[in-house]
Subunit: 321 residues, 2 copies
């Protein structure tokens, strides 16, 4: 049995590559800087070479490798292995990444959307273990979602399911990049979190946040707000309560609609921790129907930064399914 | 092969019973008045007898019948055949309906929520034929939903999935019977439709609706609004535009989340017709993401009043799955 998979996690800043053993043990890692490559051709060839290299460095040969799994942010046809387009990485339009990397490396390649890949990781080796029906939410600049139905990733009729960040939170609301408006992402995305903090600061409330950025409010990030909150800062706490409240409304709707047994929340701001989760749970308790609300455990993602790599390894074992 | 199924559709007013041939041909119908029976025991025994009678009247015997399928409005454990509780029919709390009817009739019985049953009917013999992933919405006093994933009814982890009427439409909104608030049902349920019409009439707009109820605004129903709209009444049309707009927001969210290829809208007010559907589609076009929106056909249910009976026949063939 082939026990190794090469996993890659394409991001706007870095491309992480790992050799994964037995699906959940990362034995070796390497890194490429996404922006070092001008154009998709050079990026794809660098990615392919890095895959071959990490294998050789570990003293392995192609016949030891089950395949290569790649997660990338954007619209991806996981069935045909084509990237329709990527977010934050330019020049990728209708790129048959699977075929291209297979040709250069001589190994089987499977690709999918980064949130789907993370969901697979959490499902098989993280906070989703044992769940039949679950929804995974990733918080960051944007808000993504992955759906598991009956133990399998659900991708939808044109493979674009899971866009929980673009479910309307209100009938009226701010314009969103997706073309719609009032999308949940516009209330809980990183930029909005910072805006909430700034609004509260301008209302004159005292906070340690101002000191942490030396008075330059433009330097506030969700991480800094978390830092302040962990030191007991009341304003920072109220930011997370507000964000968790928004998130909870959408989560309540998804719970009523899908009756999942687990909701996993990951990504940068999930590190805000307890206070964020308490606010989500409180709102769900107020608004979701009792039977599905009692059934749905709302938990933090477990694999952190490695979710994409572990998930990519799972994707290979499942042959892209 | 057994070609007949006995189907029953329990409602707050009537219990419809039918003999269904080849899953989609209703060859005989009978009716019981729900309120004629005091208590569940007498109702269940009347239901069982009516099932045996319709079979005998058709000159059939038990060995000709594949089974009995029952749809009922409420919280139902379709796996164990237990009614947790019903809406609009009192006294049904934790009733093992499947076992009880099986004992009296000597035939296999399968039960499920009426919306799930209707969804099965539309999927196999109505507007959902050929769809892999779809969402069925029933409009009426309440708003129900049924979800089909990969060609099969999806019931969720505790069999309560599909409550699309109880997805929040706004963060702030009117209290709902479900315990939550701002639920979509509170914006498009029958009662609210009438309220919208009355509000518009009180604003002084001219309308044929007033004449149709002889000036008694309490007599307005969604049917009367539809009647007026079909005669070209502008106020009536604007009611449906408003309702369709509300519905469209939730539908846009569901399309972004689930990427289904079909959305079926049925129930009383779906008869409002074109103008309602146009308003739903317009809102979806404005708010849903392009790829999933282009994929999702929004269509009217096809089986009308018979959806529950045809669906109950499908439920039996699928052995309750």
């Amino acid at each position: 049995m082939k026990r190794y998979v090469i996993a890659a996690d394409l991001g706007g800043t870095n491309i992480k590559i790992a050799l994964v053993k037995d699906e959940n043990r990362i034995v070796k890692k390497s890194n490429l800087s996404t922006r070092a490559y001008k154009g998709k051709t050079s990026l794809i060839s660098a990615l392919s070479n890095a895959c071959l290299e990490i294998m050789k460095e570990a003293g392995l040969r192609k016949q030891d490798i089950l395949g290569i799994g790649i997660g990338a942010p954007g619209l991806i046809d996981s069935k045909r292995g084509i990237i329709h387009q990527l977010v934050n990485i330019k020049g990728f339009k209708e790129v048959p990444l699977k075929d291209l990397v297979e040709k250069t490396t001589g190994m089987s390649v499977f690709i999918d959307n980064d949130v789907n890949v993370m969901t697979l990781g959490e499902l098989h080796h993280g906070a989703g273990r044992g769940a039949k029906n679950m929804v995974c939410i990733t918080l960051g600049t944007g808000v993504g979602g992955g759906i598991v139905i009956d133990g399998r990733l659900y991708r939808g009729s044109t493979l674009s399911a899971g866009e929980i960040g673009h479910m309307p939170l209100n009938e009226k609301g701010p314009n969103c990049n997706c073309g719609g408006f009032g999308c949940m992402e516009k209330y809980v995305g990183n930029k909005y979190i910072v805006e909430v903090a700034i609004r509260k600061i301008k209302e004159g409330k005292k906070t340690a946040v101002t000191g942490l950025v030396n008075g330059d409010l433009k330097k506030i990030t969700p991480e800094i707000i978390s830092m302040a909150e962990k030191k007991g800062d009341r304003l920072a706490a109220s930011v997370w309560e507000e964000i968790g409240g928004h998130l909870g409304v959408t989560v309540a709707g998804v719970i009523n609609l899908l009756n999942p047994e687990r909701i996993i929340v990951g990504g940068g701001i999930a590190d805000a921790g307890k206070i964020l989760f308490e606010a989500i749970r409180k709102t769900v308790k107020q608004r979701a129907m009792r039977l599905p609300a009692d059934c749905a455990k709302i938990v933090k993602a477990k694999l952190g930064q490695d979710a994409g790599l572990i998930g990519a390894a799972v994707l290979v074992r499942l042959k892209g399914k």
